[in-house]
């Protein structure tokens, strides 16, 4: 099971956190601090696994961002690397060659995509296309709702003008 997902920038700034196991707010800050110290200092050629508090953290660096997932000792580390890559590819497809700024300004989108990929710390969908389709469908639902409200506000505004 994946206990949590972290996206940390090379400068140690947190870009996304998702907790599937209960950690109190205090613990979360501590975990993030500990792990960024551990991971950001590792050299480029080393393996992508860090042992930490009896668990294992699998991380992978994409450009300036570190994607980290914390798993149990008996989970498959290599598979987690694939899951991370899977997530990155979906993000890439969604944003069109994703960069850190996309994830900063549209952080909620990154969360929505992650929620279509993982639930309860387990993988939900192996098909990138399905994930993209589901996210797009929900985005369009939001768009429709927005248009409706704006048209209603327009009508109200017109009435008010008259």
């Amino acid at each position: 099971m994946i206990h949590f997902v972290l996206l940390i920038s090379r400068q140690g700034k947190v870009r996304l956190t998702k907790w599937y196991s209960p950690y109190s707010q205090k613990e979360r800050t501590k975990v993030i601090r500990e792990l960024s110290g551990l991971i950001l200092t590792r050299g480029p050629k080393l393996c992508n696994f860090v042992e930490w508090r009896g668990l294992r953290v699998v991380y992978k660096r994409y450009a300036s961002l570190y994607f980290c997932m914390c798993i149990d000792e008996d989970d498959n580390e290599l598979e987690i690397l694939e899951i991370i890559h899977h997530y990155v590819e979906v993000l890439d497809r969604y944003f069109g060659s994703v960069c850190e700024l996309d994830l900063i300004y549209n952080f909620h989108k990154a969360y929505f995509i992650l929620d279509e990929l993982l639930i309860a710390g387990e993988l939900q969908e192996p098909s990138k296309r399905t994930v993209a389709r589901l996210v797009a469908a929900q985005d369009s639902l939001v768009e429709t709702a927005k248009e409706q409200t704006s048209s209603i506000t327009n009508i109200i505004a017109q009435v008010a003008n008259v």
Partner: protein, 879 residues
């Protein structure tokens, strides 16, 4: 911009925060935003609620408190529109965790959304429930989730399956409800549903043996067929990763098969063919393929024996180990750890490669490899492997040295074929990385040395040589100093020369020089210097020719700014000057230290009542035979931090330190936290027998003393005295100890007095049930009537052993309670032993109110947790 809008847009806020150059600026921006959001919340602003929440989430990610937004999430979730709900659920998952009570309020909204007509809203609710559900919510909403496992849209079914995993993990009783729906998911074609269904079955097997049996009977063939289909499937672009169709599904199927095959030969048989196929035909040039192979190897290793498959698996691991990719090597090492339980020989073949990995530049790999080497060592290969590790120790980097020394020490101790080898290896480790070893390691070494009477000369000369070469490694210096103190005469006279040794000439003054170096060296710590002082003191009688010089060195330290050294040197020089008659007896060589007691204590179990009749037959695996010495408690208190605080009264401290080397803070608060001791301790401490664990009753102390009576002359001299005073448990007869007190030039006499006038209280059966009795013994320190020391003794009245014994007590506000650790957490059955625990109660209203206490005792018996509670009102009035 919308005319009704207030505040900034999300994007603008993020931009503003990013534009901040200092942390203070950022805080200011965030504070302003938070204020605006709070205002909006107070006005119950509906239009921008979701925007505000999105901002809060960003602020939350930066690490600022956002609890005030929690209720907003609930409001958004309760609203009707999809956009509001979407952001509301996101906020719920981000800002709350399952332990917050607010979460209970959302259960009703979740229930409604799980039954919503819009499937995306159902999806949102399932996702939130799966990610943060608490046990209560899981119980309430399980029926809805179970129903959704049959929902028409596969995307809801897969979410429901993962949500069910969370539910059964939180409430394992619900597992059986999910068994049948889960097994029907295994027949699905949709990969998402299939993957999540397999995962759900795996987790069901973990929480319920009934489910495991059910799947074993009904699903194995289907699963094997699914795996075969997917392994043989032609290229499918939707699920393809590096030329393999859906590796995620592969891995999950293999994992479930592993659980089903474990411990069931029939089930294991069904899957051998497909496992062989996956293991031999999966491409290993990409990570995805290796991930499958890795999982497959683990399954092969875990299911019931099939020789052919295991060979295949070990070969795959061999390939992993020689792979250039660090990740692959890491998992290879990891898997070999598991394989070693199954087939140690096959793993031994890769020993050389594994040793190479210990020297890798990657810390993660080093650690794994070291763990593995540790498991690989046995009697036959301990010598070459230790040699390798010690050689590597010289070049390894600083952070890794601690780990590696700990492992070497434990290996050497476990498998040592001969004492001399053990001592040699330990000396190498200490001289290489002595600063990294834990205290108990060099303590253990001293004990082994003390027991190897034929090697005393050899050891002390070897240590002297290394000490001359370098004083860099402190624990080496300590061992050397101790040995020179004890066996200095053997050093000088070349006693017990072995053939392999080169003779050295050390004069008496050389040995004294060495000790002087240890005392004067700036770098060495207090403990080492104190040990060196003792060593000098001991040498004073071994080397009469140097005794004047030794006296000088000791006198110099009288002015030491460190209290400990100053005190010791004052005491020692006093003995040197005034007490010639007892000096030689005092500095007598240490009796052989008892290994059994030490190992017992190291293991955390305190030896109760070691008596002469119970000489433990010794089959130590390392071939270090224990001489039949009378067990004499701990002659030298080598404990520094792992042992419970020694029960010493303040008067005893001086004397304990006189010969002991314990400078740990553990003994510092003694006398306040322990029940006051009688003069027995003073005497016991003088002979360094004083560190008996607090459990031991005075009768066992006598046991020890009388047992030593037979063979230890110096102890025998004082024996009658000591046992006499230990019999008069609370009231010391001052006469018996007075003889010893002048040793201290009166320092101890004052502190000693208080023992005599402590009023006696009858002991009290504080609590008694059909299974357990607790007795309190009271004592007080004179001059401090408010404080009562209580020794609680627990006796098991049932025929079953109690494990995990825990005693807790609570007192009203006018009392202060201090609990010391209990003597043990296991209580033997039928009153065959007891646990004791000391309590200190301070009554701030002494004389007005009497003590009262509420207690709770928890323990485990027959695998059941038992909790007993009670209140104690019948304390003696004047406590």
């Amino acid at each position: 911009m919308n005319p009704f809008s207030s505040g900034t847009r999300l994007r603008d806020m993020i931009r503003a925060i990013r534009a901040c150059k200092t942390a203070a600026e950022e805080r200011a921006v965030v504070r302003k935003e938070c204020a605006a959001i709070r205002a909006a919340i107070n006005e119950n602003d509906q239009d921008y609620r979701h925007r505000n929440l999105a901002k809060l989430m960003f602020i939350h990610m930066l690490g600022y408190p956002t609890h005030f937004g929690q209720m907003e999430c609930l409001k958004l979730i309760a609203s009707t529109g999809f956009p509001e709900k979407r952001i509301g659920y996101l906020g719920l998952m981000l800002l709350l965790d399952e332990r917050q009570e607010v979460l209970m309020l959302v259960t009703n909204s979740l229930k409604q959304d799980l039954n919503h007509s819009n499937q995306y809203i159902v999806g949102l609710a399932l996702c939130a429930l799966g990610n943060i559900s608490s046990a209560e919510m899981a119980r309430d909403l399980a029926p809805d989730v179970e129903r959704l496992l049959q929902f028409r849209d596969p995307n809801i079914r897969k979410k429901a399956a993962l949500c069910s995993i969370r539910i059964i993990k939180k409430v394992p009783d619900l597992a059986e409800n999910f068994m049948h729906p889960a097994s029907s998911l295994l027949k699905e074609k949709h990969h998402g549903v299939l993957i999540t269904g397999v995962q759900l079955c795996t987790d069901l097997c973990k929480v319920s043996s009934e489910a495991l049996e059910y799947f074993r009977e009904n699903c194995i063939e289907g699963l094997v067929k699914t795996l075969r289909d997917i392994a043989n499937s032609p290229y499918s672009p939707e699920y393809d990763i590096a030329g393999i169709t859906d590796p995620f599904l592969h891995i999950r199927l293999l994992k479930l098969l592993r659980i089903l095959g474990q411990g069931d030969a029939g089930a294991s048989d069904c899957m051998t063919d497909i496992l062989a196929q996956v293991a031999s035909r999966t491409e290993s040039n990409k990570n995805a393929g290796n991930a499958i192979l890795y999982e497959c190897v683990e399954t092969i290793m875990s299911i019931e024996d099939n020789g052919g498959l295991r060979v295949l698996a070990i070969n795959i691991l061999g390939r992993f180990l020689s792979n250039r990719d660090n990740n692959i090597r890491y998992v290879g090492l990891n898997m070999l750890m598991k394989a070693i339980m199954v087939d140690a020989k096959a793993v031994q073949r890769h020993r050389a490669t594994i040793l190479e990995c210990v020297k890798d530049s990657d810390a993660s790999i080093q650690k794994r490899a070291l763990e593995l080497v540790y498991l690989l060592v046995n009697e036959s290969n301990v010598k070459p492997l230790t040699k390798e590790l010690i050689e590597y120790l010289e070049v390894s980097n600083q952070e890794f040295k601690g780990d590696i020394t700990a492992k070497i020490c434990s290996l050497v101790e476990k498998f040592s074929p001969a004492k001399i080898w053990y001592i040699d290896q330990m000396l190498k480790v200490l001289s290489e990385a002595g600063n990294f070893v834990k205290d108990e390691v060099w303590h253990a070494l001293i004990i082994v040395i003390s027991n190897a009477s034929d090697l005393h000369g050899y050891t002390v000369r070897a240590l002297y040589r290394v000490f001359q070469a370098s004083t860099e490694q402190e624990s080496l210096v300590r061992v050397a100093v101790w040995c020179v103190g004890e066996y200095g005469d053997m050093l000088v006279n070349n006693v017990g020369m072995l053939d392999i040794e080169e003779p050295i000439t050390v004069t008496e003054s050389d040995a004294v020089d060495a000790m002087e170096v240890a005392i004067k060296c700036q770098r060495l710590g207090l403990t080492t210097k104190a040990m060196a002082l003792i060593a000098l003191f001991k040498l004073s009688s071994r080397f009469p020719s140097c005794s004047e010089r030794i006296k000088d060195i000791i006198v110099q330290n009288k002015r030491s700014l460190v209290l400990e050294l100053q005190q010791r040197s004052i005491e020692f020089s006093c003995i040197l000057q005034k007490h010639h008659n007892i000096r030689s007896a005092l500095v007598e060589r240490m009796p052989i230290l008892d290994e059994a007691t030490f190992t017992g204590r190291k293991a955390g179990s305190l030896p109760t009542a070691v008596s002469a009749s119970s000489i433990i037959p010794c089959n130590l695996p390392n071939g270090i035979a224990k001489p039949a010495a009378a067990p004499i408690g701990d002659l030298l208190d080598l404990s520094s931090d792992d042992a419970p605080p020694a029960p010493v009264s303040s008067g005893g401290d001086f004397l304990q330190d006189l010969l002991g080397v314990d400078l740990s803070p553990a003994s510092a608060p003694s006398g306040t936290s322990q029940s006051p001791k009688t003069g027995t301790d003073v005497l016991l401490d003088l002979l360094s027998i004083g560190t008996l664990p607090p459990v031991q009753s005075s009768s066992s102390a006598i046991d020890i003393l009388s047992s030593s009576h037979d063979n230890k002359a110096p102890v025998a001299n004082l024996n009658g005295l000591a046992s006499h005073s230990s019999l008069s448990a609370n009231a010391t007869s001052p006469a018996s100890s007075a003889g010893m007190m002048d040793l201290l030039n009166g320092t101890g006499a004052i502190t000693q007095k208080h023992e005599e006038n402590g009023p006696a209280y009858p002991s009290l059966v504080a609590y008694e049930s059909s299974t357990l009795r607790m007795t309190f013994n009271f004592s007080k320190q004179p001059g401090n009537p408010q404080t009562t020391f209580i020794q609680a003794t627990f006796t098991n009245l049932s025929p079953n052993v109690y494990n995990g014994f825990l005693f807790q007590a609570a007192v009203p506000k006018f009392l202060q309670l201090h609990l010391d650790p209990a003597s043990s957490n296991t209580l033997p059955a039928s009153g065959n032993g007891s646990i004791t625990q000391c309590l200190k109660v301070t009554n701030t209203q002494h004389g007005k109110k009497s003590l009262v206490m509420r207690i709770r005792i928890a323990y485990k018996t027959n695998d059941k947790d038992v909790l007993e509670e009670g209140q104690i009102n019948n304390f003696p009035r004047d406590l």
